[in-house]
């Protein structure tokens, strides 16, 4: 059970949040111009790394805002949280 620091609300319990998969996957602006493989890359391919992973979270039982998080999947340590459109502070 993590404690997550929502960039809008501050520290809250894990149970207020929902997970939204890998972060920084941008929906292609011109999907029709992509090959099946390129489209599949966007649609299906996700990383599952042991170590620091960038992922999307939603403060679903709070402010309902989406944000990003850098989390170490091996020990659940959260290295940073940052707003959508921002880059992680290392």
């Amino acid at each position: 059970m993590l404690i997550i620091k929502c960039p809008y609300c501050g520290e809250r319990d894990h149970s207020e949040f929902s997970y939204g998969g890998e972060a920084h996957i941008i929906r292609p602006k011109q999907p029709t111009e992509l090959s099946d493989d390129q489209w599949a890359e966007y649609l299906f391919m996700r990383k599952n790394i042991k170590g620091i992973q960038y992922e999307r979270w939603n403060h679903s039982h709070g402010c309902r805002r989406w944000f990003n998080m850098a989390r170490d999947t091996s020990n659940d340590k959260i290295h940073s949280v940052y707003k959508i459109g921002e880059k992680p502070s290392n």
């Binding site: 029709t32 099946d36 489209w39 649609l43 340590k77 459109g85």
Partner: protein, 1001 residues
């Protein structure tokens, strides 16, 4: 011989408060402050249960949570009972009724003990090896037999009437364990002004210091009990600290999140329990955690080390010092360390005879062994107990000298009479919680234990759980580490008196004079696994400690190997010649000790198990005999049977009424999302498959929503209320997820769009009136709306008034009939519904439920997302190409409709099915084949998604998805059922009014 083993004085029990309790049907006497174990021992009872596999007699072994043998069942009223409780933890109360477990017909004569004689043929893995064949015997024969033979406690059969509670707590410092280390840490922290929570699983604080010998142990000149009392009083008067006893930490999760169970009434008499909360589950978030969980004494592993009357030395010391109970009259002690000598001296001073001490060491220069020699107690150095005698109670031990390298026993065998054997194999740090939290252990080759090294959380371990032994060391470590951990400048210094201790020596499996295989040296008492079982597993090729554990079941009983695990590891390490540090331990999993389902569930039972959502018209449905169905959390009116009707009759009547005159449906559960903003049209364009740019104000449009993988996700009608204002409807079940998905796209992909979403599902009541007479009814109910087709055509909307109430009326249809949907503020829902009923009375307006609604839409071939679709269906599969815009550059899911897989011709496609016999109704979910074989497997090409008997067509109709169904129209297919095969003809999906004339009837 007297059965009274209670000393006339001493102990912390309240002798003025005698308590009567029952054990195995007989009434016994104990005192307030006794545990069931101490009360039984005071009555001379050791034999309390039978072992799991061999049904060997077993006695009380410990004095606490680690107890492997003394599991009892507490009987309350009929059907209400608590199984698998440890007699060493149960505090007795007036009316307590406990029985032994796992024995039939009684603990003294147990039929299953015949297994003991068969034990050579029931080795480790016996069940895996024997009950393999034939497979069909498993459920009916083997499982039944094994369950009956192996049954631990019995489950209650009645509903649990007790009250359980949940509580959250946040603190700066959580201290787990209130032994000397925990108490010292609590004092240091609380005095420095920290907000502290101190918990201990036992009723009393002080840990093992409670029953240590007061002649040899002193703190600041005070005897142990005096110091504990003084310290507890100081803590209780400190406002910074909250103290909970009888509270066991079950789990230690990441981010210092701990789950604890507090026992509030189990120790009270039945009368005093009434109306009180039984247990409270605490969910604690602590900034910092101090673990002071102590250590658990080890047994010794030798032949027949499991007889009643063999007990841990520290437990025997606790029984005499805390409860004034001597566990025997003629006592031998078997030890490898100095701690057991404290037990010897304590017993001796209380007048109990110590027959002999057997010590595997050559000598000890400690204070206590020297004192024992002075007292004239016979010590057998460099010796070991190799066997014990006595069936229901130990009566003799066999002792031999150890060889120089401890690998064998030598010399003459000595037989010593005794009625109690205290064993002491040293102490194992209780690192359970530490490792649960993700901490790593290291093995100390000299001291023979695992101790905490690395942790990732804001946490420290202090005292014996950290591998620190000796009162002086424990107290100075607690003070120093706590001071440092909490950034405190100075702490009060304490002076400690303790006996000088000799070295500890360790042999995991003691040598025997018998050949290996002829001994029963129990490692795990509760699961009856022996050293030989472990050896066998290793011989059979199991190497990983995790595999050996599962094969032999060592450490897998309800005590989770609190006693067994270290020796199992030690034996494996010796046999495989692996260093223990490299071997590692098995995983310590929560809960530390068993917890009740009641505590986990708390108050979320019965009607509080889940949220139920009711529409504003719910009361009316209830009064009018509606049957309800659950749709997500919603209770929806399913059908309204009259007294004589069954479900089928009712649904047929409702469906017919809706087409012949007028029907009324409560559609309030449909998801409603209010969409506003200057980019609202563009937003809908991107979300839905069809075009939204040109939808005029006041018009409605049906839309299909896909995931980006091209699969249908949700559908519904959206109405343009104003230039930049829409109201979207979603399916009942999809409301929350659609809202979430739309928000997701707005926030993350298209933040540039000016669109604002508000969920208004609960804000409006929605009443749908359909049928040829619906217009007439609406005209009576609403004012100021012109219902002429030219002014108010299909798929449009009007604002209106019902008396003074504002309403929105949409002319939209899910039944294919002329149909209107009235939306009013939720509070007015029921009164408007009643108005509609009154206005429709002359037309026989009929309320219909979700079942009739499903039937009516199936007649029209309208899909239900989640019934016709299952997340693998595209709009093209549904033959709904008409709704997929070819012109739009992009929308969610578009690109995926052009993937090779989604363009396959032979995908499952949406079709209608008609049975040869119009009375034959297909079963929903039934598989469809093109070719029938004698028996499965057959090539399944699709399945039935919806199936009804249509009262309006007087025949059975069904919807299905079938491979290449688009091209199979008119073809014959088959639906094989268990006792027949049904022939079907593939048809169009629209069974009624293909031209849509009824919409304008």
């Amino acid at each position: 011989m007297s059965n009274n083993y209670r000393l006339s004085t001493g102990g912390q029990i309240s002798r003025s408060e005698p308590i009567l309790f029952k054990f195995n049907g007989k009434t016994f006497r104990g005192f307030k402050g006794d545990t069931l174990a101490s009360a039984l021992l005071s009555n001379g009872i050791h034999l309390v249960g039978r072992s799991f596999k061999y049904h060997r007699p077993r006695g009380i072994f410990t004095s606490g949570v680690e107890e492997p043998n003394a599991l009892v069942q507490i009987i309350k009223d009929q059907g209400k009972t608590d199984p698998n409780l440890r007699a060493t933890q149960i505090e007795i109360y007036e009316g307590l009724n406990a029985t032994s477990q796992n024995c039939w017909p009684s603990v003294k004569f147990d039929f299953g003990s015949i297994n003991n004689f068969f034990s050579p043929i029931i080795p480790a893995g016996f069940y895996y090896k024997t009950f393999m064949w034939p497979a069909s015997f498993w459920e009916k024969v083997y499982e039944y037999f094994i369950r009956k033979a192996a049954g631990l406690g019995k489950s209650p059969t009645k509903k649990d009437p007790d009250i359980y509670d949940h509580s959250y707590h946040h603190c700066e410092v959580l201290i787990v364990g209130a032994g000397p280390a925990g108490l010292v840490a609590a004092k240091v922290a609380a005095n420095a002004g920290k907000k502290v929570l101190l918990v201990d699983e036992r009723p009393n604080f002080g840990g093992n210091l409670n029953f240590s010998n007061s002649d040899y142990n002193k703190i600041n000149g005070l005897k142990p009990l005096e110091w504990i009392k003084k310290t507890c009083l100081e803590l209780q008067n400190n406002k910074n600290i909250k103290i909970l006893n009888r509270t066991s930490v079950a789990a230690y999760h990441n981010y210092n999140y701990l789950i604890m169970v507090q026992n509030l009434t189990d120790h009270l008499s039945d009368k005093n329990k009434i109306g009180k909360i039984r247990q409270r589950l605490w969910k604690v978030r602590a900034k910092k955690v101090i673990l002071a969980t102590g250590s658990i004494e080890r047994p010794m592993i030798f032949d027949c080390n499991d007889r009643p009357g063999i007990m841990l030395s520290s437990a025997v010391r606790k029984y005499i010092n805390t409860y004034g109970v001597k566990c025997g009259n003629n006592i031998s002690i078997f030890s490898n360390n100095d701690d057991a000598y404290e037990t010897a001296i304590t017993l001796h001073n209380k007048g109990v005879k110590i027959k002999s001490i057997i010590d595997i060491r050559e000598k000890s220069d400690g204070t206590l062994p020297k004192k024992c020699i002075e007292l004239g107690i016979k010590i057998h150095w460099k010796s070991a107990v190799i066997y014990t005698e006595g069936y229901k109670k130990i009566n003799k031990i066999h002792v031999m000298q150890l060889s120089k390298d401890n690998s064998s026993v030598i010399g003459r065998k000595l037989k010593i009479d005794c009625d109690l054997l205290c064993v002491s194999g040293g102490y194992t740090p209780a690192v359970h919680l530490f490792t649960q939290s993700g901490g790593k252990l290291d093995y100390d080759e000299k001291k023979h234990y695992f101790f905490p090294t690395k942790n990732t959380l804001s946490q420290i371990s202090i005292g014996s759980c950290n591998g620190t032994f000796g009162l002086k060391n424990i107290i100075s470590e607690s003070q120093e580490k706590t001071r440092e951990f909490l950034n405190i400048k100075e702490v009060e210094q304490l002076s400690v008196l303790e006996p000088k201790s000799g070295d500890f020596e360790n042999i995991w499996l003691l040598p025997s004079n018998k050949i290996s295989g002829k001994t029963k040296s129990f490692v795990d008492y509760q699961n009856d696994s022996t050293a030989n079982d472990i050896k066998l597993a290793l011989r059979e090729g199991f190497k990983s400690i995790e595999h050996v554990k599962r094969y032999t079941t060592t450490g897998m009983a309800t005590d989770q190997g609190k006693i067994a695990n270290m020796h199992a590891l030690g034996i494996i390490s010796e046999i495989t010649n692996t260093k223990l540090g490299e071997l590692g331990t098995t995983t310590f999993r929560p809960p530390y000790s068993p917890i009740t389902f009641g505590a986990l569930v708390g108050r979320n039972v019965g009607q509080f198990f889940d949220i139920t959502r009711k529409t504003p018209i719910h009361d009316w449905h209830e009064k009018n005999n509606a049957k309800f169905e659950d749709v997500g959390q919603w209770k929806r009116a399913w059908y309204y049977p009259s007294e004589k009707e069954n479900m089928h009759d009712s649904v047929q009547r409702e469906s017919k009424a809706a087409r012949t005159s007028a029907g009324i449906l409560d559609a309030s559960t449909l998801g409603k999302i209010d969409i506003q903003g200057s980019d609202a049209s563009e937003f809908l364009n991107r979300i839905y498959t069809n075009a939204w740019g040109k939808l005029a104000i006041g018009k409605c449009r049906y839309g299909l929503m896909l995931n980006d993988d091209g699969m249908v996700y949700d559908d519904g009608v959206t109405t343009r209320l104003d230039e930049n204002h829409y109201i979207m409807t979603t399916t009942t079940g999809g409301a929350a997820t659609v809202m979430g998905k739309l928000e997701d796209f707005l926030q993350t992909e298209w933040p540039e769009l000016k669109v604002y979403l508000t969920s208004v599902t609960d804000h409006f009541a929605t009443i749908s009136v359909c049928g040829p007479n619906s217009k007439k009814i609406l005209e009576k109910v609403t004012q100021s709306i012109d219902y002429s087709d030219s002014n108010f055509p299909h798929m449009s909307f009007k604002n209106g008034l019902i008396d003074k109430i504002k309403c929105r009326v949409m002319r939209i249809s899910f039944t294919g009939e002329l149909s209107y949907e009235i939306n009013v503020q939720a509070n007015y829902g029921q009164s408007v519904w009643k108005k509609c009923m009154a206005a429709g009375k002359e037309y026989g307006i009929t309320p219909y439920g979700t079942e009739a609604m499903h039937l009516l839409r199936a007649e029209k071939g309208f899909i239900i997302v989640g019934q016709e679709t299952d997340g693998t269906v595209t709009p093209v599969d549904l033959q709904m190409d008409w709704i997929v815009s070819k012109k739009k550059y992009d929308f969610i899911g578009k690109r995926s409709l052009y993937r090779s897989d989604t363009m396959r011709e032979d995908r499952k496609q949406y079709v209608g099915l008609l049975t040869n016999d119009p009375k034959e109704i297909l079963e929903e979910g039934a598989q469809i084949v093109a070719e029938v074989k004698n028996k499965p497997p057959m090539n399944m090409i699709g399945h039935v998604t919806s199936s009804y008997y249509s009262p309006n067509l007087n025949k059975s109709i069904a919807l299905a998805v079938v491979k290449n169904g688009k091209n199979l129209k008119g073809k014959k297919l088959y639906v094989p059922m268990p006792n027949k095969t049904i022939e079907v003809i593939v048809s169009d999906t629209i069974f009624l009014d293909k031209e849509g004339k009824r919409l304008n009837a």
